[in-house]
Symmetry: C2
Subunit: 328 residues, 2 copies
């Protein structure tokens, strides 16, 4: 059995380490070559240094509901740490109970994505962070008012000053975005069974998960779901039954982007249901089946679906341990 | 200077320990006699044993939004751990953005209260726990549907089974209430400056806080705000300017209870603003002034208000360290 897609990832060292074993080890090593253990941290922008002070401030802001119009919605409302840093409902519920158009993506490992939001309309977490604060159906605030509210608290003057010591007027929009993005870059989930497996712990995945991994490569899933976050960060046309969301087209106005969405990360996919842009599919079995049909023109057998779903469960890593901040 | 109200609390031992010092110590010891350090735990009902399994389950349920109609509101939404286990807005915002009639009381130290809710309509935390789940303007669920949702998750079958091992069908309303109440009884805030002061650490409170403590006794505040949670758990008529809430009368239909509310705890009062049944007063200075006028017929001077407010700050204890549970 030979992988049908050429390795994109540089994991030659692993092959050298693993390749000296029996024939089956050689074979598994070839498959492993398609994957990459999650790095400890994602890339950090040159203009937004990751300091402990900024992480701490970003955490406060992430949990801060006073930057919403109602005073009760924070980033953590939809990106709920108890629910895989997402909300586990089809579409987000925001200001005044309004229901949005799209499913809440998890914040976990989002620093590894090359663009943000389902339609990739922001290039980075700094750009993403200010969107939901201002969205009418989410937190429904103006940034100016959010900044004013923060300025009412002496402790925020201290924390912004510590996080941005060179800024004479540090409580501002850019710094809110930089702090939240910095905190989010710490929300990664290392040591999933796949990660441990890739590091040589061959018992970390079950036999069925290993079979699922092979199938994931052979069937071509890995063509889009690759890299440390198992996404190519590219946009692919995907017509979800029942969805009229034009996706990336709304950003680019390019017909080629009609119904295209950014490939979602598969990290922690087992705990970040429901699936797809409108959250209309609530279990992995159906989600994988639909992907096979739509993206690969392939009807997986029940046995194949079971193995692929088992492999998806091997992508659940260790959740970040975040202590809830005491807000002023 | 002699306290004008007879000690209600049994703290004779403290007086004996402290009383051997100088005259000023004697005097302070007399005042200290009116207070009581927060015990490690509140009373635990004979029919609801506090087990680690029940605490863990109760924590999960406390953070569980799927027992609300929208799927996004949990106990922790209004009793937000980041905000003193309350919400720091005047009146609670619930289902569909509806605004309730009353201010959210903190869960902190609520196990020390002899009744629950502003109007005391439930005798204990077990009775309280099921109220907000069913309230139309809060979580807006039927208990039957909440139970059905919990039953969908295998992990809840395990956790309810572990918490209630003798119950053949453990996922039920009573056990939801018992588990949440058990978790809540762990949310206490020991080691406030007052607590340390009462235990002999005379430097734990500032001079102004000590003066505030004396004034608190001399002026008569302590008549209602006493016991470990600084509340008598009794109901007192209080006509808040602008409030038409009939309070305890709505529960008892007794004219004597018109506009009466249960004395709120003063533990952590500095971090559980805004104040009073409709949350219309947002700072301690004004709250203490109003209390002096309404309950004691007394206009405190600015200096007195400053000292009393300083003393209020000595009632902020250590927040419980709660790790956010991973929900299914």
């Amino acid at each position: 059995m030979t992988p049908t897609i050429l390795p994109r990832l540089c994991a030659t060292a692993l092959v050298l380490v693993m390749g000296a074993g029996a024939a089956s080890s050689d074979s598994i090593a070839e498959y492993m070559d398609f994957f990459e253990p999650l790095p400890h941290l994602p890339p950090i922008p040159a203009d937004n240094s990751m300091t402990p002070e900024k992480i701490e401030l970003g955490k406060m802001l992430f949990f801060e509901p006073r930057i919403s119009a109602s005073g009760v919605i924070s980033c953590a409302t939809c990106h709920n740490p108890a629910l895989g840093w997402a909300d586990r409902i089809p579409r987000a519920v925001g200001h005044g109970g309004q229901v949005g158009e799209r499913n809440t993506p998890t914040v976990l490992n989002s620093g590894f994505l090359e663009s943000q939001f389902w339609d990739g309309r922001e290039p980075d977490l700094e750009g993403q962070a200010l969107g939901p604060i201002q969205a009418d159906i989410e937190m429904a605030m103006t940034l100016a008012e959010a900044i004013e509210r923060l300025k009412e608290f002496e402790i925020y003057h201290e924390h912004f000053g510590a996080a941005f010591p060179d800024d004479p007027d540090p409580i501002n929009q850019q710094n809110v975005a930089h702090a939240i993005a910095t905190f989010e870059r710490t929300l990664n989930t290392p040591n999933s069974p796949l990660d441990r497996f890739l590091r040589g712990d061959v018992q970390a995945m079950t036999e069925s998960q290993v079979e699922g991994m092979k199938l994931f490569v052979d069937a071509g899933c890995v063509a889009c779901h690759n890299g440390p976050a198992l996404t190519d960060s590219n946009f692919h046309r995907f017509e979800l039954p029942g969805s009229t969301d034009e996706g990336r087209f709304l950003v680019t106005d390019d017909e080629a982007d009609m119904f295209a969405f950014r490939t979602p990360t598969l990290r922690n996919v087992a705990v970040t249901y429901p699936y797809f842009n409108n959250g209309s599919v609530d279990n992995l079995h159906d989600a994988v089946q639909l992907m096979g049909q739509q993206m690969l023109g392939q009807d997986f057998t029940d046995d194949e679906l079971d193995k692929l779903v088992d492999f998806m469960h091997a992508l659940t890593g260790e959740m970040p341990r975040v202590e809830i901040p005491a807000l002023p």
